[in-house]
Symmetry: none
DNA sequence: TATGAATGAGGCTTCATTCAT
DNA sequence: TATGAATGAAGCCTCATTCAT
């Protein structure tokens, strides 16, 4: 209404799509997918609900688009992993890289972890599962015994858990992340040794 | 599960409350809390929605009642743990007992894990958090360094993860549970040694 | 459960009906008829809803019974009025007596006044209307001109209004009631003079 | 009322909000607030319930919006009154103006009078009370004795009562309104004289 | 003289989605 | 590139009432 230049909200030319994704992810992560309504997203962006539908066909598609954008690095990691030898080095590099991926897209992963029940019924659920299996496949020796397989999975899980359950613990965030990585790397090492030794 | 012989449903007097809890937990675990409607619960029980409200004041209260009933053993474990010396034995006994508790009330814990976002806004969320902290407190040496603290938490998390993420792996269920317990026990052992050695 | 003598709530032998009426009127007057649920009444009495149905056939019948009990004096007044000459004395006596009746059953009249819309659709609505017309008939000269008729009605209304709208004014309650009665008597006097003079 | 020629309903774009208010007030006045359901309002307008929620956030807000629109004149009157000298002329002008206001928004005032119990728990209840007090304040001499204060209030009340309780009396509506105004004016005159004389 | 258990109807409200403009 | 207006489905919850015991 009126002029163009106003301090309130700048640069909103053509990046509405991006802004929707940002706000949606923020709210999804904060309150869950079901509890977040399109009305809420629209209000926070100061647009109408109908505007969301100009950019995305459904509510689910908003989530899908976020997911696809942010989990591409996992695909890349898996692709990379497939070309590597099954050495301990490789596995620890995977742990390191995955840890970085998690940190970079923390809100999304937090969302995926805290909304599993919901996500299971959505398309992203299936996709995510596939990706996690891909990750497992480049890490786990098929020959490993059950206990070691559990160790590999526990390593991945520790990384996930580390992101959120450690918030309660006192201490510096970066330090905690290091500690988590160390425990995960340790688990991988033990699993690898157990397998290659036998 | 035990009971006396009855075909589909007969003598259903006085146990409606229990039946509501059973069906509700089943559906909550399967589809999530938000996605499960009272209509659905009522239909499956062949009663009206209003009947649910005779037994429980709100939807949330159904969950609370289930939660309170099924997590009592955690309180007992914590109580027990407080009276024990901080030895490795004790900690491993805690792991064993907690593993049993999880197995006994698997659907509830699965629910809690898969609906964290929802549960966080509910009363059970707070209560659960407190209980988990209680568990941590009887397990973790306050003197342990960060990495070992992560190991303790990772042990607990491994138990949780083991319940669900291992379903994909091939193999006998009981065997898998054993493997999970072993990894958790191992983590605890390492954590304990790391701390007492120094 | 257990003994008989307990201090909490005494004498509840056979007077439950009366107690229901008391509590119901209190709640009806306080919150309105629609907003007062049988659950609420039952809870306050520490009995079940079903118990109410032992004593009264419907919710409306509770109100009817209260109404019938408490408005009998109006019928008596009308009966008395019919046998009196149409003097100013008579009219002022009516004002005085009606004022007493209002004061004695204040909660009921408050209720009737504040729930006209609801009451209109109930049986008591019609009955009350008839009673008020009876009152008007023994007070108003059919020969009075319009303005004087309004005065009579205004007198009655002033008595009603006095009960509630004067709570805001400062001052002693009894004094206020006197003042209200005086204004009403005044209006009647003016109306009577206007009519008999012409 | 006035508009351009249209049979039953045509061109109903942009005036839905107004139509909701109209129908709602009509039903509220006729059956009471509680007894009027949004379903009923929607049906009468041949829209869905959800449409109502596009225009108003809650049922109560429908009432609030009607109330705010229709009682603005009272605020204006009070504002005007504050700037006037406390003469008898002023007071009688207030009576006249207030009588007009009541006539113009008769259904709303009828509603407020017949739903006091309900309205008391609503936001409009408080607002209305404030407005009536404002009116009283510009009319009543603080120095007046109790009986005269009652007379002022009785005058206002007579105007209110006149709107509805006189429907039963035979006679021309306009004539009755005049009569009511006269009685009210009279009461004010007596109150004013009582106070200024002493 | 009451209670326990249940029902059917209906209340208000929210949601994702659509479509003409 | 959006908005205004609306819908249909469904959600949770409350109510007066009933009936076997």
């Amino acid at each position: 209404m009126g002029g163009t230049m106003d301090g309130t909200r700048q640069r909103r030319r053509g990046n509405t799509r991006q802004r929707i994704q940002d706000v949606a992810l923020e709210l999804f992560a904060e309150q869950g997918y079901e509890k977040t309504s399109l009305r809420e997203i629209a209000e926070r962006l100061e647009v109408t609900k109908a505007a969301l539908y100009y950019h995305f066909k459904t509510k689910e598609e908003i989530l899908v688009s976020i997911f696809d954008d942010l989990t591409q690095p996992i695909l890349d990691l898996i692709e990379w992993g497939k070309g590597q030898p099954h050495t301990l080095e490789t596995k620890q590099e995977i742990v390191r890289r995955y840890s970085d991926i998690l940190a970079d897209a923390a809100p999304l992963f937090r969302f995926m972890q805290e909304n599993q029940a919901t996500v299971r019924e959505l398309r992203v659920g299936e996709t995510f599962k596939e990706r996690m299996q891909g990750l497992r496949d480049i890490m786990i020796d098929p020959a490993a015994d059950l206990v070691d397989q559990v160790r590999y999975i526990s390593a991945i899980f520790t990384l996930h858990a580390g992101m959120f359950f450690l918030q309660d613990l006192p201490g510096d965030a970066e330090q905690k992340r290091k500690a988590v990585q160390e425990v995960a790397a340790d688990l991988v090492t033990q699993a690898h040794r157990g397998t290659t030794k036998s």
